[in-house]
Each structure stands twice: as C-alpha cells, then as structure tokens.
C-alpha cells in the first residue's frame, strides 16, 4: 500500500551542483531567497530566473522535475493571484463590474507575487533535488555548531533528523504489514463516516506505536553499546570540505544580489 512512496525528492547525480558542500548550498539558498525578496522591480526577476534555470541546467536535473515540485503549489498560486488581482486598486482601471475592479496595478502585483512564489520554490527545490537528506542534516549540524556555545543542541538536532529520516521507510513498511494483518482479521478501513474510520485506525496505530517505541529502545541500546555519548569529541567519516567550486557558487550568488541592489539603487 505504501510501496510507491519515495522519501524527499533527491535526484541522484554527480554534477557540479550535486558536489557542492551542503553548507554552501544551505547558505546560498538563504542568499538566493534574500535576492528574491530584494527584488522590487519585476524586470529584475529576469536575472534571478536566469540564475535558477542556469543552476538547474548545470545540475542536469531535468526541468520537468523542477516543474513537478511546483505542482503542489498551483492552488496557492491561483489563490494569491486572484486575491491580489481583486484587492489592489492602484493604477488605471481595466475592468469594472459590480464589486470587481481590476486595475493595471492589480495585474502587475498579482504577476509579481506569483513569480516571486515560483522562484522561491524553484530555488529551494533545486537544493533538495541535488542534496541527499543526510548531507543536508550534516551541513545543518556544521552550520549550527557555533551556536552550541549558547547551549543550542546542534548535534542532537541533526542526529534526531537523521534518525527520523532513516526510520520513515521502515515504519511505512511496518504500517503496511500491520495493515495487512488487520485486514486479514476482517478490519474495514474504507467504509463508514469519519469517526468510524478514525476508530478503525486504532488497531493499526497502536501496534505501530508499540513497535516504534520498541525500535527506539533497541536503537538507543545499540548506539550506547557502540559508545555513543553525544556529539562531544565525535569525529566523522565524511569530513565536509569547501572546494573552489563553492567559492565560485558563492561569488555568483553574491553577484546576483549585488546586481539587484545596484540596479535598484540607480533607478
């Protein structure tokens, strides 16, 4: 029943974008988001879009994959578009009927917001498409490490994320097994009203929780028996290293921000 679920959306590859340090990708994604929000003039979305498309081409992730990640967004997009179209009353009137007043300012703003949203999601999707979840948590841990001086549990947070990611497929498989066992005992999961259906889930959820706790217990034991004692003094197998490519990517992204700031300062 759950066999078609894939976790995350990582697109395996070995492109320059894939090879970037996850820390670089995380920071540059934030920089990219800042760039998108800095744009006040719609035409400046052109270099931003060019940057996003360029990075996608470089990553050799098919554009259709990026398109697919935009799909869940469509209703939000439509909603935002219509809302802006109807609420903004600046500029020359284009169409007046009953309570609906569409103006040039409204059309402009609606397009602007929609574009901003698409570019935001496209950028973040590109990062998750080119970085494995494990590399991401790894990068996140390294980036948050300085904050552990302020008692921020960077390592624990990253370990929790890693474990959660690792166990999602396992628990799905388990849920599938339990579901089949209860179906064989005549469980009816598909008929009845919401309340009855929720009640019918109890025979699946209880064993699932029991087994999740049991697994957690066993994992904790296994980790302790291999001398796990938290992040202090722990060395890693894959040490993250910045490469010249990271510097290039950073320069390009900062260049994009500089361009936007400069153009807007002049005009």
């Amino acid at each position: 029943m759950f066999k078609d679920i894939t976790l995350g959306q990582y697109f395996p590859g070995n492109s320059p974008v894939h090879r970037l340090d996850p820390r670089t990708k995380l920071l540059l994604m934030i920089a990219y988001l800042v760039a998108v929000f800095l744009v006040k003039d719609m035409w400046l979305f052109v270099p931003v879009a060019a940057f996003a498309v360029g990075a996608t081409l470089l990553s050799r992730v098919p554009l259709s994959y990026l398109w697919r990640s935009l799909k869940p967004l469509k209703w939000i997009l439509v909603f935002m578009f219509v809302l802006n179209l109807l609420m903004i009353r600046t500029g020359a009137p284009l169409w007046d009927w009953w309570v609906i007043h569409i103006t040039t300012g409204g059309v402009w703003q609606a397009c602007f917001i929609a574009l901003r949203l698409v570019l935001l999601v496209a950028g973040t999707s590109l990062m998750t498409l080119t970085t494995t979840p494990i590399a991401l948590t790894d990068g996140l841990e390294r980036l948050l490490l300085p904050f552990s001086a302020l008692k921020f549990p960077a390592h624990e947070l990253a370990m929790m994320m890693t474990i959660a990611l690792r166990f999602i497929p396992t628990l799905l498989e388990e849920a599938d097994k339990i579901m089949k066992a209860q179906l064989a005992r005549g469980a009816d999961l598909e008929s009845g009203n919401i309340l009855q259906r929720a009640k019918a889930m109890v025979p699946i959820l209880v064993p699932l929780f029991v087994s999740a706790f049991r697994r957690a217990d066993e994992l904790a034991m296994a980790m302790e028996s291999r001398c796990y004692h938290g992040g202090e003094g722990r060395t890693r197998m894959h040490v993250l290293k910045f490469s010249p490519a990271d510097a290039c990517a950073a320069a390009l992204t900062l260049g994009l921000i500089a361009l936007i700031v400069a153009v807007q300062a002049i005009s």
Partner: protein
C-alpha cells in the same frame, strides 16, 4: 472444497524498471483438512503466496478459488476471505487491545458474529492455543511473554473459525520449547476444529514432522509437490536450491551409505526407536 491456485503470478512494482516477479505460474490445491508444508529459500515467493491466498494482493495473472469462490471477484471476495485465516510472520505485532480477550474478539466481531458466539469463539480459541481463558482473558496482551503473545495472536485468527489456516513462519524467533509447543498446537487444530493448514517454514524438521504434503518453491516457481518421502528423496534438487534435508533424514542417508537398511523416517524419535528395535532392544 479446497483452495485452488490456478496459474498464479505476481509482480512487485509492476510497470516500473524495478519490476520483480515474485510468484510465477503456480498451480496447486490445498485440500480440506490436509497439512501442507511450503518450503523454499529466502526470496522464493513463499510470503507473497501466503498474501495471495488471503486475497491481500491481487495476482497479475491466474486466480485463487476458495471453496469455488474467486478472490478477485469483488462480490465473492469478502465471503471467500472468511474461509481463510492468515497468520503472518511475528503475528504478535498485531496485538492492540487492552485485554487478550478483546484482542482475540476483534476478528470474530469484524466478521459479524453475535455476542454469544464471539464469547464462545474467544473462549475456545484461547483454550486451543494453550492460554487458559480464566488466567489470560483479562490480561493485557503487552504484559505476556514472547511465546504467549504469539499464541494470543494465533488465537485471534483461530477465533474467526477459518476452514483454512495459512501460516507464514509461525515459529520464527521462538526458543525450541516454544517452537514445538506452537507446532503441536497447529497440528492439533486440524483434529480439533477440522481446518486445513498451509504452513511456510524454514525448518525442514518441522515440516517433515507434520506435513502430509510438501510444496517446494524456488524463485517464484513451484519446483515439486509431494509427500515428505517424495520430496526428501530429491536430495540433490533440494541442495541445488539452497535447502537441506531434515537432520534424521541425513542420518538415515549416512547409515544407508554404510550398508544399513533404514526406511525413510523424518522424526528423530521414530528413527531412534527403529534403530533400537533393530538392535533387539525395546524402549
């Protein structure tokens, strides 16, 4: 009326590049009241076959008839499923209720038994698996020992009064005493409630001891089906697909090679008493 599998095939991840044939063109019949053992190496399609028999997977080709009712037919499926009790690997993970009695009653209740009938079925099933009703009915299933949990889960299926009991590795992960207890219980069920048993097992000894017929699976195909004598006579074939002979069988073969006349026996006790008798001693 039997369970009939007719040219059954099943493919995992059908339509993708990862498609994998798990069961291919299997035809076999489980007769009412018989004990059929299903053996095969890991990945030979045993567990898939079990799920197909319970109507939990839909075959890619072929069909499953339970007492003449087609499991693929939406109208007949519910009725057909009633006849088949499935016990999965590690069935204790399906326990969920507050008390053992309530958990065992879950299946019968889903099947629409009346309250009195449920009560009677629960009582009977618990006694059959060796968990005395008085002692265990009001216990929480989560405070039982591993072997007791396994029994309680088994009772949950037996209480549905299936005509065919299909078990996937019912003894996996139990200690020797627990194994022989469960096997004994399963074997007794045929006499007590007259249901047929199809049991998947890795243990050649267990299958040899109980099964009237044995089906051998390899890479999704049915390689051989026959009495234990017929199946275990094919030593080379079994070894070629990664299976072994039961220990008494190996001993008998070794004795035969040394020139001793030994009939085909699959139980250590039977072999031992034969040898003692041959020596002129009685046990």
């Amino acid at each position: 009326m039997p369970i009939q599998l007719e040219q059954l095939s099943y493919v995992y991840m059908q339509g993708s590049t990862l498609a994998q044939r798990a069961v291919e063109d299997i035809s076999l019949t489980i007769e009412a009241g018989e004990f059929l053992g299903l053996i095969g190496h890991t990945g030979s399609g045993k567990s898939t076959l079990v799920q197909l028999m319970g109507g939990l997977l839909q075959p890619a080709a072929g069909r499953v008839l339970v007492d003449g009712l087609d499991l693929a037919d939406k109208k007949q499926r519910a009725q057909a499923r009633r006849g088949v009790g499935l016990v999965f690997q590690y069935p204790e993970y399906q326990l969920f209720e507050e008390t053992v009695a309530k958990d065992v009653a879950y299946g019968p209740r889903n099947m629409g038994f009346g309250e009195n009938e449920i009560e009677a079925a629960v009582h009977e099933a618990l006694e059959l698996v060796g968990l005395p009703y008085k002692k265990f009915a009001s216990k929480s299933p989560f405070e039982l020992s591993g072997g007791e949990k396994r029994r309680a889960a088994l009772a949950g299926v037996i209480a549905m009064r299936p005509k065919y009991l299909v078990l996937d590795e019912p003894m996996a992960g139990l200690d020797p005493a627990g194994r022989s207890d469960i096997l004994h219980t399963i074997n007794n069920l045929r006499g007590e409630i007259g249901c047929a048993v199809a049991m998947v097992s890795h243990s050649m000894e267990d299958v040899a001891r109980c099964a009237g017929r044995i089906a051998v699976l390899n890479q999704g195909r049915l390689v051989r089906i026959g009495t234990p004598a017929e199946v275990f006579a094919q030593e080379d074939e079994l070894r070629a697909i990664g299976l072994d002979l039961p220990a008494p069988c190996k001993l008998a073969t070794a004795l035969r090679a040394r020139g001793l006349e030994v009939p085909p026996l699959y139980e250590m006790e039977a072999l031992a008493s034969f040898l003692l008798k041959r020596e002129g001693r009685h046990v």
